[in-house]
Each structure stands twice: as C-alpha cells, then as structure tokens.
C-alpha cells in the first residue's frame, strides 16, 4: 500500500466536481434509461400511454410461459459464441499479418478499418443482397457450383448469413485493438526468441499470444456485448428473425416488440432480462477468465 502513489485532494468538493461530467453522462445515458426499463417492465400500457396499469411481474410471467422466448436463449447463445469466436480469431489473424506487412501498410490498414463506418442495418442489407436466393451474386455462384443456398427457409443458412454480417461489421474494431496490441510487444523479446531458434508459429503462441491476453480479454467482453445488444439492425435487415424464429435473437425481439409492435411493457421486461444476463456474463468473465490474463 505504501508504495502506491496516492494523490490526495485538499478540497473535498474538487474530486466530485471533476467526475461530475462523467457521472452526469453515465446517469443520463445509462442509469436513467435502465431505470425506465425497470419501471416499464412492471407496467402494461396501450400504445399511446393513455392508460398505464401496474401489473407487477406479469410481463416476466408471460416470458416465462412463452416457449419461443426460451428458444431465443439458445439462438442467442449460438449467435454470440459464433460472432465473438469467429470475430476474434479472424481479426487476430488479420492483425498478425498486418503487423508483419512492410509496404503499403496504411492502405492495407485503412481498408480493414472501413467496415466499422458502416451502420449495422446497412451491413445487413449488403450481405442480404450478396446472399439473397433470387438475386444475390454469391447465391448465384453457389448455385453454379451445386450448392443450393436458401437463407429464407434453411435456418443454418440464415444463421450463417447474420453471423457473417455481424462478424464483418465488428472485424475492424477488433483488428485495431489487436494491431495496437501486437505493436506494443517489444521487438527485443521476439528477436531473442528467434535467435534461440523459435519459429514464427512458436513465437506467436509462446510470446505474442500470451502478451496479447489483456487485449483479447477486453475484446471478448466487448464482442459478447456487441453480439447481445448491437446486432438487431443486422437481423432486421437480413432475416427478420426467420425462418420461423430461428434467427430471432433476444435483442431483436426486444426491438421488434417495442418499436414495431409497440408492446412497451413486454419489450421492457425482455430488456431487463437481457441486461441481467449481460451483467452476469461480464461478472463471470471478470471472475474466471481474467485470472488467465497477464497484465
């Protein structure tokens, strides 16, 4: 404790003043909406909000009794694992090679960062056009090599479609962090290992990958959160949750019930459940996965 540098403010109001802007932002944009969601999840109201009735836990009870809601847990789990897993490994791979590129680095990197500027709904539409069974270029190509692509009725194809779009969209973000991570690893370590006779594969697994673990851990959490919360635009544009409900991930149902069907109580209850899941997941990740991280 004594070795830690501690700054002590003389005036007691100063620290409060300094964190006030940040606290205000968090309160207005995070705690207030979250509180509203909690309140609304206990209410049932008509579309225009002219009659509001407190219904206790009834909205949650409806979810509990809805078999399709339970199915959406599994869909969400599959989707999130795929998005986070594929997203992290592909971008790690890209960053590894981008780190070794000598010429044309900036062009290469700029191209990889581009997709981040695309809105989720637009990403969904772009991939939908590529893979649409009737008009999609890729679907047409697949047909010619004898693969019948049908994302409208085949749930695996539909899931593959939204995973591809979601991963592609998040690739740039992951890439940026991994690239920065690679560049912060001292060259001397890698050179020393090379002199000792370690090949690129060995150097990657024994030096670079462990030293990247803080970055990987951070990205794991942001990617899981992204897959849980930010992907409804992609689903809405690409599959609308179909075929059946096979790509209706939880956040899409929140969006659909709240903004399209105007069932605010039901939608709020779902977002409360979603919020709880993500809180638990993040705690679990910090508790167990973080132990394996070397800072």
């Amino acid at each position: 404790m004594s070795s830690e540098k501690r700054v002590v403010f003389r005036a007691t109001w100063l620290p409060w003043l300094l964190i006030a802007p940040q606290a205000a932002v968090v309160a207005v944009f995070f705690f207030w909406p979250a509180g509203q969601a909690l309140l609304q999840s206990l209410q049932q109201s008509d579309a225009f909000g002219t009659s509001v009735e407190w219904v206790g836990l009834e909205n949650f009870q409806h979810l509990w009794n809805d078999a399709s809601y339970w199915a959406s847990f599994q869909t969400t789990a599959v989707f999130s694992v795929l998005v986070a897993g594929l997203g992290l490994s592909i971008s790690l791979c890209l960053a590894y090679f981008a780190d070794r590129v000598v010429r044309g680095t900036s062009i290469y990197r700029t191209l990889l960062i581009w997709p981040y500027a695309v809105a989720p709904a637009v990403a969904g539409v772009v991939w939908l056009f590529l893979f649409s069974p009737s008009i999609g270029v890729v679907a047409y190509g697949l047909h010619h090599i004898g693969f019948e692509w049908d994302s409208l009725l085949n749930s695996h194809h539909a899931m593959a479609l939204i995973v591809m779009a979601a991963v592609w969209k998040q690739l740039s973000y992951n890439f940026l962090f991994f690239l920065a991570g690679f560049q912060s690893i001292p060259k001397s370590l890698i050179e020393a290992a090379a002199i000792d006779g370690a090949g690129p594969w060995r150097r990657f697994w024994t030096i670079q990958f462990p030293l990247l673990s803080p970055t990987s851990f951070f990205l794991l959490i942001t990617n899981i959160t992204y897959a849980f919360f930010d992907t409804f635009g992609i689903v809405d544009a690409a599959t609308k949750g179909g075929p059946g409900k096979d790509t209706a991930i939880m956040v899409y149902k929140v969006y659909f019930d709240g903004f399209k069907a105007m069932d605010l109580g039901g939608s709020a209850a779902q977002s409360v459940v979603l919020m709880a899941i993500v809180i638990v997941l993040t705690v679990v990740q910090f508790r167990f996965v973080e132990k394996k991280v070397n800072y």
Binding site: Q44, S45, D46, A47, F48, G49, T50, S51, E53, H62, D66, S68, P133, S134, I135, L152, L153, N154, S155, K240, G241, G242, P243, G244, K245, F256, D257, F259, K260, A261, M262, D263, G265, G266
Partner: protein
C-alpha cells in the same frame, strides 16, 4: 459602433421574422404524416397542393415519416411529447390499436359534423366503411388508400407451357394444375406468395366466408380469439405445403419481397396486393393478367369478398378547433367523387365510394386497362359478419407469428395442422393481453 450595427441588424431580422409569422398566421398549417413513397408520394403531395389551391384558410403540409410501422411509432412518440400531427395515415394492421386508444383519436364523423359538412358513411364501399366503423356505428377514421388481395399471372410463361390465357385459373385446383404444367415445361418457380398471412389466412378466410377469429374477426369486440385452424384452413395450408415440397410453390420471403420475383419473370403466378398493379404495369417485360384470388369451389359461400388492406387517415386529439375545421375541409375535398376516381386510376388503390367507382367505369378506364376492376369486384359485394374485415389487437405481432409458423410448413418442419394450432395458441395469448391492456380504461 459595430456592436450597435449588429444589434440594429438583428432587430431588423426580428421584425422581418415576426412579419412573416403574421402572414403565416392567416393560414392555418395542418400537419399530415404519411408513409407513401415514389409514385404514391407524388400523389399525396398533389392532393395537398390541389386542396391548398382551392382555398386560402388552411394549408395541408404532407410529411413522409417512414414506412407504416415507423410513422405510427413516430406519432406515438410525438403524441407523448405533445407534438403529434393533426392527421396520421395508419395501416390496417394498426386499426385496432388506434380504435382502442380512446382520447387520442377524434372520430372523423364527429369532426365533419362539427364543421358543418354532411358526412354519410353509406356512400362508401361497404367493406371499406365497415372496417373503419366502431361497434357503435361511428366511423372513426377516414378511408384513404384501400387495397385488397388479388392474383397475377405471367401470360407469356403460360403460353410457353401450353396453358390457355383466355381465362385465369380461378380455383386452387386450377392453380395447382397450371403450376404442374409450368414445372413440366421447366419453369423454376410456378407460384409464389407475397404477404402470406394476409393473402393465405386472412383474405382466404373471408373469401371463403369463414371466420379467422371470433366476434366477427374482432370487429365486434376486444374479446376476440383466433380460430384459423379449421379443417378448411388446414387443407389449404397442407396443399400449399405439398406444392412447396414438389417445387410448384416457391417461398420468396416475408411481406412483399416475393413481388420482385414476379416482375423479373422468375415466378409465373403470385398472390399479393392490388396495389402491386402499378409496379407490374411499369416494370414487367411480359404480358400479364390480373384476376381474382383463387378459391375452393366446393366450399359453400365461396367466393365471398376479400379483406381490406392499405391505410386510413386518423385525426389526433389535442389540436385547436380551427385546425379541425381545416381537417374537415380537407376530408370534404378528398370525398369528392372526381378526386377519388382520379386517385383510383392513378394508384391502383380502390375507389372508396360507390360513386367514384361508377364514374371510373363510365370513363371507360376498366375497358382500357383490363384487370384493374378485379379488386373492386372482389370488394364491392355485400359483406357478411364473417367477411366484413379483420380487426385484431397486437396485429403486427400476430402477422409475424403467421409468418414464422407458415415458414415452418414451407420448410417441411411442421405439418399444416401443427403450424395453424401454434398460430392460434400464440396469437390468442397476444389477443388476451391486448384485451386486458385496453379494457382497463373507464
């Protein structure tokens, strides 16, 4: 020095703006939120422009607020914040929600009467007027763009397959036969379906004079429940499921996404909205025909009439009395048979009054454009308690339940009976919720 100059200039600017607003005050602006795009957006703007030119007291300002569901959500948010528009265009799926929102909506009949206009609901096409009339007989919204479900077929593809194009296939057995011939001729997509819930369950029911839901499909009250798993419904969905298995019916997605595959010539037959006519007429590079929705000839009472789609205009509360006078004047203008007939010819939406229909017929329009009267003929009949219309709460969600479960049949994962039972069971949970949320009011 410069500061004073600036102040003076600002003062001048202030004076100028107040002068402008004085001038604008003479004319009352009325906001009209709608969801019409492309050719139909031009139509809406022309209606407003022409009305504004007829008088000086009011100015209708049409504003495009996104697709139907988006503009409705926007209006809900605006109403809660106190800036709702005076007129809102709401799709038929939102009708029950609007009707149940008492205090939010001003009944159209009332507004017309208050402004001193004669308003006679009986001049409207019965299926249209009945749909927007409350159980107590009061007409709540103003019928605007109404459509219904019809059948289109590609005449060139029919000829190539050796099928006569003199008469369109009128029944489902005839459609299946035509599809089989098309397939034998190498056609990849003989039949497709747009708006599957609307065309194959909702309109299908009223066309065969059977209920989709109790209480006259929800027209008589909120305590309505789905009954769309009768043997007739099962038979039809089973038939379509079998056609899907044999490659006679090819599923092309939810809502109207199948329409593109008809226009491109990929699919030879389609059931969809009568409002699709303009698109086909403009973009199809082949001869096409429009005909009535197919039916089962052995069902007594079929064909009855098809159900209404499209949208109507709702007047929202909380505005000044002068604004409502302006709204009434605008609606009075829209009720003019000449205006309605022109709109019908221009858009393919139904003529909403009987007089407009007669006027259009007298102009020879139907003779010059064969098939354009199909929708009218399907709708103009006398309706029954089972066919008057379908008005369900939480309809948006029920529509997507219909999509989800029907897709399972087309994919061969569920039998027709299982899927329809699921629709009834899941839909009824939503209907119960809607009843509960909306009957709590005084």
């Amino acid at each position: 020095m410069t500061l004073t100059a600036l102040n003076l200039r600002l003062l001048g600017l202030g004076l100028l703006t107040s002068l402008c607003s004085l001038q604008a005050q003479a004319e009352i602006e009325i906001q009209w939120w709608h969801s019409m795009t492309a050719v139909n957006n031009e139509w809406v703007n022309d209606l407003a422009k022409n009305f504004n030119a007829t008088q000086k007291d009011y100015k209708i300002v049409p504003v495009y607020k996104g697709a139907y569901d988006e503009s409705m959500t926007a209006a809900v948010a605006a109403y809660r914040a106190g800036n709702a528009p005076a007129i809102l265009q709401v799709f038929e799926v939102g009708t029950a929600t609007m009707m149940a929102s008492k205090g939010v909506v001003m009944p159209v009949g009332q507004i017309m009467k208050d402004a001193g206009y004669k308003f006679d609901p009986s001049v409207y096409v019965p299926a249209v007027a009945g749909y927007y009339t409350a159980p107590n007989g009061q007409m709540l919204s103003f019928p605007f763009n109404s459509s219904t479900t019809v059948f289109y077929f590609n005449k060139d593809a029919f000829k190539a397959a050796g099928i006569s194009t003199d008469k369109a296939p009128a029944t489902w057995p005839e459609v299946a036969l035509a599809a089989a011939k098309l397939k034998a001729n190498g056609h990849k997509c003989p039949l497709t379906i747009a708006w599957q819930g609307w065309t194959q369950l909702e309109s299908f029911s009223s066309w065969h004079n059977v209920e989709l839901a109790t209480q006259g499909n929800g027209m008589r009250g909120l305590n309505t429940r789905l009954v769309s798993n009768t043997p007739l419904h099962v038979r039809h969905i089973e038939n379509l499921g079998n056609m899907a298995k044999q490659g006679l019916f090819v599923y092309k997605g939810r809502a109207n996404s199948a329409e593109g595959s008809f226009v491109s010539g990929e699919c030879a037959m389609i059931t969809t909205s009568s409002g699709f006519y303009g698109n086909v007429a403009k973009n199809a590079k082949f001869g096409f025909g429009v005909s009535t929705l197919p039916y089962y000839p052995d069902v007594p009472g079929a064909p009855q009439n098809t159900v209404i789609g499209g949208a109507s205009l709702w007047v929202l509360s909380g505005k000044k009395p002068e604004e409502y006078k302006g709204v009434a004047a605008f609606f009075n203008y829209l009720s003019n048979a000449q205006v309605q007939s022109e709109s019908h010819k221009r858009t393919g939406y139904l003529p909403i009054t009987l007089e407009a229909y007669k006027l259009t017929e007298a102009s020879g329009f139907y003779k010059d454009h064969p098939g354009t009267d199909t929708a009218v003929n399907q709708m103009i009949r006398k309706t029954t308690d089972k066919s008057r219309g379908i008005r369900l709460g939480n309809y948006v969600q029920i529509r997507s339940i219909e999509d989800e479960e029907l897709e399972q049949v087309w994919a061969g994962k569920l039998s027709a009976k299982e899927a329809l039972d699921n629709i009834v069971q899941r839909g009824n949970v939503l209907l119960e919720r809607f009843e509960k949320a909306n009957s709590a009011k005084p």
